[in-house]
Amino acid sequence: MKKKLICIACPIGCHLEVDVENNYAVTGNQCKRGVVYGKKELINPTRIVTSTVIIKNGIYNRLPVKTDGEIPKSMIFDVMKQLNEVVVTSPIKMGKVIIENVCDTGINIVASRSM
């Protein structure tokens, strides 16, 4: 069985075909990232999550944050829930860990700007 996917590894958006029976062999990709994405998307889809947390004493009310790696797609809303409970205080440097090992994913939430 061949599954059709659009690669989201970069903005090019290659049209991939993944041969599920043939060890998830990927065709239609223009780079190695497509091979990794095609297989992972069908076995264990993951995503980077970006959002904001409340910041006190900053020039704005929200500090942008992101996961420092991909988390399972099924955990996105659990991570969002955790983020809603965070309040940080300025100054914060870009890259500072805001939540360590968020929802036991092994991935940290980090600040994506200084404020």
């Binding site: 903005p11 958006g13 970006t50 904001t52 994506s112």
Partner: protein, 418 residues
């Protein structure tokens, strides 16, 4: 009157890259003027990732991408002014700006770079029918409210237009607990990147209504519902109406280069790009005034803005060193069948180092065709394309030798493969 080598109008991705590139190659007195309270431009509210794959070879969020440039600007000690609005640009390269500390100031530059970016098309600009209650706004405005200020503009949201900002906002609103009832696109295909359709709509089961548009907005002081209809040749088909109860309608219906200053200065504009007409050196028809980034033409990716602005910065260095040949004898770039625009629009071959990069957009979706570059009837270059779409900017590189047989003009067209 204070004198500068270069005044750059706009401290977003284009202005930052141009300033740094000039500084890299020539010790110059540069001033970057920014009307907002911070440098970085629209990147600051684009908190999603996907920026920097070309320029930094890694995937960054908008604020991260901006901060790298801002840090470098500080490191190099390049002068900039915040909260400073340019009021007028003169053809002799005087710039009038105003801010709270200095009041109204006029300064003089040898060269000016226009990097004002673009703005969003509004409800009025697309002739949106129905009432004008509160709750109708551009997707970028909703993005600023949410990502910078922390306000969610609605709980039940519909989005008109499938541009990237609309798609990104669909996911963003869902993550923050809103219902996104759908996205309507008047064209039979999306104007956004394919990966955004996948990771912003498909991931969250948000329906995309292609060949549909908003035909009615209901509500008195606050929006209560939107009606969408299927269209044929842009005309709504009666009987196809679907109504959605909403408290917000976001518009993601295109971006327009912000050229109020340029037009008032007498700079010649391209009616298709809505940006200045420039030559191979990104110079406008006015000597010493250059343009790059989204003020020139709307780009798909910030990485392309950075690369273009670096090339413009290098050209400005040549200009300051009197190494740019001035000549009215240039090659005209002509958009033929299937091509909607080409940037730059004019080329003086003597100012090209070894190659010239041309950027263009096609008018509709194409599969398995050729992009053909011709001068009169001579084919200069043929590029095979498996897939092209209006949402994806195409790039053609021409070597100096390619211009050997060119007389007067170059045309580019989309042609069937033989």
């Amino acid at each position: 009157m204070k004198m500068y080598d270069v005044i750059i109008i706009g401290g977003g991705s284009a202005g930052l890259a141009a300033a740094l590139e000039i500084n890299k190659f020539r010790k110059s007195k540069i001033l970057l003027l920014e009307r907002d309270a911070e440098l970085g431009g629209i990147l600051l509210q684009c908190i999603h990732n996907g920026f920097g794959l070309k320029v930094f070879k890694e995937e960054l969020t908008g604020p991260e991408y901006a901060e790298r440039f801002i840090d470098e600007l500080h490191e190099k000690g390049i002068e900039y002014k915040l909260n400073s609005m340019v009021i007028k640009l003169h053809p002799d390269k005087r710039v009038e700006y105003a801010n709270i500390e200095e009041g109204f100031v006029t300064i003089q530059a040898k060269a000016v770079i226009l990097t004002m970016g673009c703005y969003e098309r509004s409800a009025g600009a697309i002739g949106l029918p129905g009432n004008r209650p509160s709750g109708v706004m551009t997707a970028g405005a909703a993005q600023k409210y949410l990502n910078i200020d922390g306000y969610l503009v609605g709980k039940n949201v519909f989005i008109l237009g499938s541009g990237d900002i609309g798609l990104i906002m669909a996911r963003r609103m869902i993550l923050e607990g809103a219902n996104v009832l759908g996205v309507a696109e008047i064209l039979p295909f999306s104007g956004g990147l394919k990966r955004n359709i996948v990771q912003c709509l498909d991931d969250y089961d948000i329906p995309l209504y292609l060949s549909h548009t908003v035909t009615e907005i209901k509500g008195e002081s606050k929006i209560s519902s939107v009606v969408i209809s299927k269209v044929k040749d842009f005309v709504p088909i009666p009987g196809t109406e679907i109504e959605f109860e909403v408290d917000a309608l976001l518009l993601s219906v295109g971006l327009i280069p912000e050229n109020g200053l340029s037009e008032a200065c007498g700079i010649d504009m391209d009616s298709r790009t809505k940006g200045p007409i420039v030559n191979e050196s990104y110079q406008t028809n006015i000597d010493g005034i250059f343009a790059c980034g989204n003020v020139l033409h709307v780009h798909d990716l910030v990485d392309f803005v950075t690369e273009e602005s670096r090339r413009a910065g290098q050209a400005v260095v040549k200009y300051l060193e009197n190494q740019l040949e001035k000549s009215d004898n240039h090659i005209e770039m002509i958009s033929k069948d299937g091509v909607s625009y080409i940037v730059p629009q004019q080329v003086n071959v003597n100012n090209i180092n070894d190659k010239l990069e041309l950027f263009l957009r096609v008018q509709k979706e194409y599969r398995d065709v050729n992009l053909v570059v011709r001068s009169n009837d001579t084919i200069i270059k043929t590029i095979r394309k498996k897939h092209m779409a209006p949402a994806e900017m195409e790039q053609i590189k021409l070597k100096v030798e390619d211009f050997d047989s060119v007389i007067g003009s170059i045309s580019i067209s989309v042609e069937e493969r033989q």
